[in-house]
């Protein structure tokens, strides 16, 4: 059975790859949403 270690003991620190992946994971959908909104809003200025 896996010992019930806190994350502070089981983790080896934060890899830059994990950090970049995490930000891309939320950043890409958000950018897509912003672009869709801007595309729709562009009609206001035509």
């Amino acid at each position: 059975m896996k010992p019930n270690l806190p994350d502070s003991q089981s983790a080896r620190g934060t890899s830059p790859v994990v950090l970049i992946a995490a930000w891309l994971g939320v950043g890409i959908p958000m950018l897509w949403g912003v672009l869709m909104t801007v595309k729709k809003a562009a009609l206001l200025f035509k």
């Binding site: 502070s8 983790a11 620190g13 934060t14 897509w32 949403g33 869709m36 909104t37 206001l44």
Partner: protein, 489 residues
């Protein structure tokens, strides 16, 4: 499984990079932010039986609209009721429960649509989903403030920006999915609910399992907590049960309520407002909305949808922009700007309408909506500055009842005033003028509330003994400030 969710399991090690926490918080806030995009489902939900048009037995718009009102009501209520529990069990458990409620709420709503039982839609997205909204919304806030004591506004702005952006992703995604699933026998809503429920469940679980709380006494390298009596940011803590009895809490409740009431009122009627005020001028022809052809009305409706989208974008930009700026300006001056500038801008709107200046009208509302979003994102940092960080999640949860109240009052004020003006015989384009002056007046009330906020008196802060007792009882999420751990990130 229970061990994985315990607060003790989420304490970060000294090598944890605090910049990993905001994306975890964003994963949750981007998911629950779809609450603002649910209106994309309303029209198809009124045609579940008739498919191409509403027929006898189909749900009415009023019936399906109630889902949103229930959701916002349960958002505020659950945040108020479960805030204390969240501080005790930690953000991960709260995030997981939020994932079950929000993702599960979509699945229950899918069953409701499939079987055409409106009560299941209300229960799923309104009641259970609403609880998911409240828990998800407050789950990362106090931990973010603890990770970023030096940049509280930026930290809360990053997460709460996600709530503003959720609909921008969710609404077009829902539109694509409904088109994909639409058939001769289905409007595609229940299938879309099922897919989105699963997507949100996975995204929120990923966010919740990314949550880490800083070790007791942790602070960023090189940062020293303000110690002077006059510092705007206290390093001591007020217990949640005391905080909500203090005038400062209720003044801040008034600050959030007035700011949100004005903004949410405008947002709820943004589309008809721009169409009725400018009519044909939006597409370069003369004539009021009633005098236009069906094609011209359709073109104007698209432009109005673009306007609503732009306001959502303004709210998102304001959430991160104003809250970050509040780290430099201070919370109280930031809200002073919201209320003074906001009142002037609202009072200028009738002029923009009368002169037909569409770019001015759009710019005015863009700036107003940045301050609406900024108000949401800056309030947790304001609370932390005022009452300390130990119970800020629970205090913020109770303050969010102001949002629930504003969600009911704001749209009601704006639509009631519009109908009253129309009944008095005013042209549709002029029916919003009085509303704008009243909203400007509401912001003056908010200005006064903010002006009256004073630092909390010494006698209300917890002593070290109080903090130790709370820590022993497992509440408060933080223990007495002892043996700070310095790290370099």
């Amino acid at each position: 499984m229970a061990g994985l969710l315990d607060r003790e399991r989420t304490v970060a090690g000294p090598d944890f990079n605090r910049w990993l926490f905001p994306p975890a918080a964003l994963a949750i806030h981007l998911s629950i932010g779809m609450a603002y995009g649910l209106s994309v489902f309303w029209k198809p939900l009124t045609q579940v039986l008739g498919i191409t048009q509403s027929i006898a037995g189909d749900w009415t718009l009023t019936q399906v609209n109630l889902t949103f009102a229930l959701g916002i009501f349960f958002l505020g209520s659950s945040a108020a009721v479960f805030g204390r529990w969240l501080e005790r069990v930690g953000p991960r458990k709260a995030g997981v429960v939020a994932a079950f409620c929000w993702g599960g709420g979509f699945l229950i709503a899918a069953v409701g649509v499939r079987l055409h039982i409106i009560q299941l839609l209300w229960l799923g997205l309104g009641v259970i989903g609403g609880c998911g909204l409240g828990l998800g919304y407050i789950s990362p806030v106090s931990t973010l403030i603890k990770w970023f004591p030096d940049r509280r506004g930026l930290a809360t702005g990053m997460a709460i920006m996600g709530f503003g952006g959720g609909a921008m992703i969710g609404a077009p995604l829902a539109d694509l999915l409904m088109k994909h699933f639409a058939s001769a026998t289905s409007v595609g809503v229940w299938e879309t609910f099922a897919v989105m429920g699963l997507l949100y469940f996975v995204a929120m679980l990923a966010g919740a399992f990314g949550y880490r709380v800083p070790a007791s006494g942790w602070k960023p390298a090189g940062w020293t907590p303000p110690t002077t009596q006059k510092a705007a940011q206290t390093s001591r803590h007020v217990h949640v049960d005391r905080a909500w009895r203090l005038p400062q809490f209720w003044l801040l409740w008034g600050v959030l309520f007035t700011n949100v009431t004005a903004g949410i009122g405008v947002l709820s009627l943004a589309s008809p407002m721009i169409q009725e005020i400018f009519g044909g001028r939006l597409i370069g022809v003369t004539g009021t909305l009633a005098e236009l052809t069906t094609e011209q009305k359709a073109a104007i409706a698209s432009i109005a949808a673009g306007f609503t989208g732009l306001l959502s974008l303004a709210s998102l930009i304001g959430r991160i922009g104003w809250s970050s700026l509040s780290d430099k300006l201070g919370r109280k001056p930031t809200y002073m700007i919201f209320f003074s500038l906001g009142a002037v801008l609202y009072a200028t709107v009738p002029f923009a309408g009368r002169t037909g200046a569409v770019p001015l009208f759009v710019t005015l509302f863009f700036v107003i909506l940045t301050m609406y979003g900024g108000g949401f994102a800056t309030i947790p940092a304001y609370l932390a500055d005022m009452f300390g960080t130990a119970f800020v999640g629970a205090i913020h949860g109770r303050l969010l009842t102001a949002w629930s109240a504003a969600g009911l009052v704001g749209p009601a004020i704006v639509s009631y005033l519009r109908d009253w003006q129309l009944a008095r015989g005013l042209a549709a384009g002029e029916a919003y003028n009085t509303t704008m002056y009243i909203l400007a007046g509401l912001l003056v009330v908010g200005f006064l509330c903010n002006l009256l906020v004073r630092p909390v008196a010494d006698r209300h802060f917890m002593t070290d003994d109080d903090l130790r007792r709370e820590a022993a009882a497992g509440a408060g999420g933080t223990t007495a400030q002892a043996s700070p751990i310095e790290v370099t990130r």
